[in-house]
């Protein structure tokens, strides 16, 4: 079983649990562009809730917002992040809906979008799409960090456990194709978007998200010729809003910080996190906050993996920080 299989099964469960849930997205009636709706269309009772729509590049997000405002719980399955950028004006209206209506109307829409390189398509896959999304007021942006949490995170996001804001769940393509060796966790055990420490350590703190969580774990183990470093690694999880208190506390714990994420360093979420940590914890820091990121685009399909930071670069950063 891989992550797509697990998420497809979860989506069918979610539709069964709540009759308000409907699926939108290209080809959802025939399985969807990633196959995420295929378990739903197998079941005749659920298939009717996979809605067939014409191509709506400018208005799909707003249409989903209208459905949600009318009391439905739309789940929009996207082939990538580009459709959200195409419909950004509409997405902004959906994000603003609750505030404009003083909370009397909400728009609990869940967008599920793969991000990052891994399918050889380049294009928006080499950008850091969350950078545009986190600037959308009222929108929650969360990103899957570890494959075995895919089902649990999808469920928690679809239940809007952290709040009824419209939510984008980003699923890195590098994780989508992952075969699941471990049993997928049944429950997330925290709110969707809440950061979680995935490795204990006292000498330095690594903040990662998406496909870079596994990269960070691997680099921490591989540093110093395999001896490893005494580093805490955090799966940041939620990019908007950032759980600033938790992350600042984790930075203060060690005083040495590395931030690692896909996409370019400039103007990214890592930059915001670094600035916030500098604001709130500079007196605890032993040195500058390091950011290890990918190359800026445009990158062609053959170079798309350069959008990810390399393990070598991250190991070098960790080893630098390990110097007393």
């Amino acid at each position: 079983m891989n992550v797509i299989d697990v998420m497809a099964a979860t989506l069918a469960e979610l539709l069964r649990e709540d009759a308000r849930r409907v699926l939108l997205g290209e080809d959802v009636r025939t399985g969807g562009m990633l196959g995420l709706s295929r378990r739903c269309i197998d079941d005749p009772e659920l298939a009717a809730r996979a809605l067939a729509l014409p191509l709506l590049p400018a208005t799909l997000a707003a249409h989903a917002g209208g459905l949600a405002a009318a009391g439905m719980r739309p789940i929009v399955l996207l082939p990538g992040v580009a459709p959200l950028l195409e419909g950004l004006a509409g997405l902004r209206e959906v994000g603003a809906l609750a505030a404009k209506n003083a909370g009397e109307r909400t728009a609990p829409v869940l967008f599920v979008a793969p991000c990052g390189p891994g399918f050889g398509t380049a294009g928006d896959a080499v950008d850091a799409p969350e950078t545009a999304l986190v600037h959308t007021p009222g929108l929650r942006v969360i990103v899957l960090g570890r494959a075995h949490e895919a089902a649990a995170l999808l469920t928690a996001a679809a239940n809007f456990e952290a709040g009824e804001e419209p939510t984008v769940l980003l699923v890195p393509r590098m994780l989508l194709a992952t075969a699941l060796d471990d049993e997928p966790v049944a429950e997330l055990g925290r709110l969707p978007g809440e950061p979680v420490r995935v490795r204990a350590g006292r000498a330095m703190t690594v903040f990662a998200w998406g496909e870079c969580v596994e990269l960070a774990l691997a680099a921490c183990a591989a540093a110093h010729g395999g001896e490893g470093v005494d580093a805490a690694v955090w799966d940041t999880g939620g990019l908007a809003p950032l759980s600033i208190d938790t992350l600042v506390e984790a930075a203060r714990d060690t005083g040495r910080v590395v931030i690692v994420h896909a996409g370019p360093r400039s103007f990214g979420v890592g930059a915001e996190l670094a600035a916030v940590i500098a604001d709130r914890a500079v007196l605890w820091l032993d040195g500058p906050i390091l950011r290890v990121c990918g190359e800026a685009g445009p990158l062609g399909p053959r170079q798309e993996l350069r959008a990810l930071p390399s393990e070598a670069d991250l190991v070098a950063a960790l080893q630098t920080l390990a110097i007393p």
Partner: protein
């Protein structure tokens, strides 16, 4: 009726310039005096809004009929998604003068916009015409919930060349949404070049080509407007699909002949049938003006 260059071609009328109506053409169940008073109220509201200090205020005088007719025919469970300059919808739908003035003066929703979740009048959008997409989603939700509600979306012809408008027609037609689009066409808009909104013969024509039921009516004729919107609403309630009613209006700021004024045209009709007197007019106007004055004074004092 002798048409003047001011009268739009290809736009249905039932009430002629002198207020005479074809037999049996008055929409069933419509109390004409109530309709007339609502139109007068909308006119008074426009005058008062012009003095309310709304930034970039654009008058809707001459365009009252589609606003009033929509508000009168929207039922409690229906939603109205207004565009810009559609404040009159809230007044006729039952918003109190005080609440309306408070929202206009406070400017929370943007200049000259009012909304109410309890009255099912949606908030506006910054992106041009994006409220049409939200309205389509709303209508889609009403269809899935099978609660019998429908959605009205108000728009001007300038927004009908946008991608948002075409996508809305596409999804409304494809999914058979209970959506009524009321499009006001100024033809010679005061705030835009004449080319704005022009794509083919008419907006209604484009809707028909897209497979959407349409009517094109003369906005100077309140009865034709009421009838067309009523037909469109009935279709949506019977789940017979979306529609577009194009209302061709003449803005009074162009100083047109009196028969282009919908309030005046209906007044002439009431006059020919003995239902209008100068006293009736004075009382109707005075009542509304008084309430507007008190409400705006209170709102402005509240902000000061």
């Amino acid at each position: 009726m002798d048409t003047t260059p001011w009268d739009p071609e290809g736009a249905t009328t039932v009430l002629d310039a002198e207020g005479r109506v074809e037999p049996g053409a008055i929409p069933a169940g419509l109390d004409l005096r109530i309709y007339y008073k609502a139109l007068v109220a909308a006119r008074c509201l426009d005058v008062r809004l012009g003095r309310a200090g709304v930034p970039m205020y654009a008058s809707f005088a001459g365009e009252e009929a589609p606003l009033v007719a929509t508000a009168m025919q929207a039922r409690e469970q229906d939603w109205i998604y207004p565009g810009l300059r559609d404040v009159a919808v809230a007044l006729v739908r039952g918003m109190s003068f005080e609440e309306l003035a408070r929202q206009v003066v406070g400017g929370e929703g943007g200049p000259g916009r009012v909304a109410s979740a309890s009255l099912r009048i949606a908030t506006g959008t910054d992106a041009i015409a994006m409220h049409l997409a939200l309205a389509a989603g709303q209508a889609h939700g009403q269809k899935l919930a099978a609660d019998g509600g429908i959605t009205f979306a108000l728009v001007g012809e300038g927004a009908t060349t946008t991608g948002v408008f075409h996508e809305t027609l596409a999804v409304a037609a494809a999914c058979d949404l209970p959506l009524v689009i009321v499009c006001r066409s100024q033809l010679w808009p005061s705030g835009a070049p004449a080319e704005a909104g022009v794509l083919g013969d008419s907006v209604a024509d484009r809707a028909r080509t897209c497979g959407v039921w349409e009517r094109r009516v003369d906005g100077a004729d309140p009865l034709a407007v009421y009838g067309a919107i009523g037909q469109a609403a009935a279709r949506a309630r019977d789940r017979r699909g979306p529609s577009l009613v194009e209302v061709v209006v003449t803005q009074l700021l162009h100083d047109p002949p009196a028969h282009r004024d919908p309030v005046e045209r209906l007044r002439r009709h009431l006059d020919t049938t003995g239902q209008w007197t100068a006293t009736f007019q004075d009382v109707a106007e005075a009542e509304v003006r008084g309430k507007l004055e008190r409400a705006f004074a209170a709102a402005q004092a509240g902000v000061a």
